[in-house]
């Protein structure tokens, strides 16, 4: 039973990790790309690492150190990923990057420095 739960967590996490990246590739402008990066990625990594720790625990119940490291990694990512996304959006906003409102296509143009 718990095995299926671990499988489900892993697959769901993989789905979120992939769809988050798909959003980063497909969304029209920078500020909309922040959403998949900030939310779906964070959820995906929590699910994957949770599933992995469950799997490790089921495989060998005395692998406490590995589970501890996995929990440490997930805590670390849970803190740093939103903070990085916040920092990127903040810098972009302060630099005067305007969100896309649908009137003009500001994607794909040479806005690069």
């Amino acid at each position: 039973m718990l095995n299926y739960l671990a499988d489900g967590l892993l697959l769901l996490g993989g789905f979120f990790a992939f769809s988050g990246s798909l959003g980063i590739l497909r969304f029209p402008d920078f500020f909309s790309r922040l959403h998949p990066a900030g939310t779906s990625d964070t959820l995906g990594q929590l699910l994957i690492l949770g599933g992995l720790s469950l799997r490790v625990l089921l495989d060998s119940p005395d692998a406490g150190l590995s589970v501890g490291k996995l929990i440490a990694i997930s805590l670390l990512l849970f803190i740093t990923t939103p903070a990085s996304t916040h920092a990127i959006s903040r810098v972009a906003h302060l630099a005067g990057l305007k969100p896309w409102t649908g009137e003009a296509n500001n994607d794909g143009e040479a806005t690069d420095e």
């Binding site: 670390l76 803190i79 740093t80 903070a83 916040h86 920092a87 903040r90 810098v91």
Partner: protein, 139 residues
């Protein structure tokens, strides 16, 4: 960016953990992967992060420049010193077994720990010095 409260809080939380992890890499280097070089780079990274988030002056207060210069030399001197102990005891240069003649294997572990500590000190201070000098001294 350094005025962002979120980043300052997160960075302040993370800074001691990076140092602790660097210490783990340093000391665990003879059992698992890792060692002085990697730990030195991590220590330097931690202080560079501190400088990014809290400003150069705060980092200088935390870690004065003379201390960085001192540890840079101390690392190499520690390595050479371990070697010279072997010479003084009448053996080869860098012969670790003289550190504890009754337990040569323990002596070797001790010697490797000391030597890696020297490498870590030097690498950390050299990288910190490079970044500090190029960024701060030419204005």
């Amino acid at each position: 960016m350094s005025e962002s409260v979120v980043l300052r809080t997160i960075g302040g939380m993370l800074f001691p953990y990076i140092l602790v992890y660097a210490f783990y890499v340093q000391m665990h280097g003879e059992i698992g992967p890792g060692g002085g070089f990697q730990a030195g780079v991590l220590v330097a990274s931690a202080f560079i992060l501190h400088a990014f988030l809290f400003g150069k002056a705060a980092t200088d207060r935390l870690l004065p420049r003379w201390l960085v210069d001192l540890t840079m030399c101390l690392g190499v001197l520690l390595y050479i010193g371990v070697g010279i102990v072997g010479l003084v005891q009448g053996s080869y240069f860098l012969d670790y077994s003289v550190l504890d003649p009754a337990h040569p294997a323990h002596a070797e572990a001790l010697g490797i720990t000391l030597v890696e500590a020297g490498v870590g000190l030097t690498v950390a201070s050299v990288i910190l010095t490079m970044v500090r000098k190029v960024n701060g001294e030419l204005e």
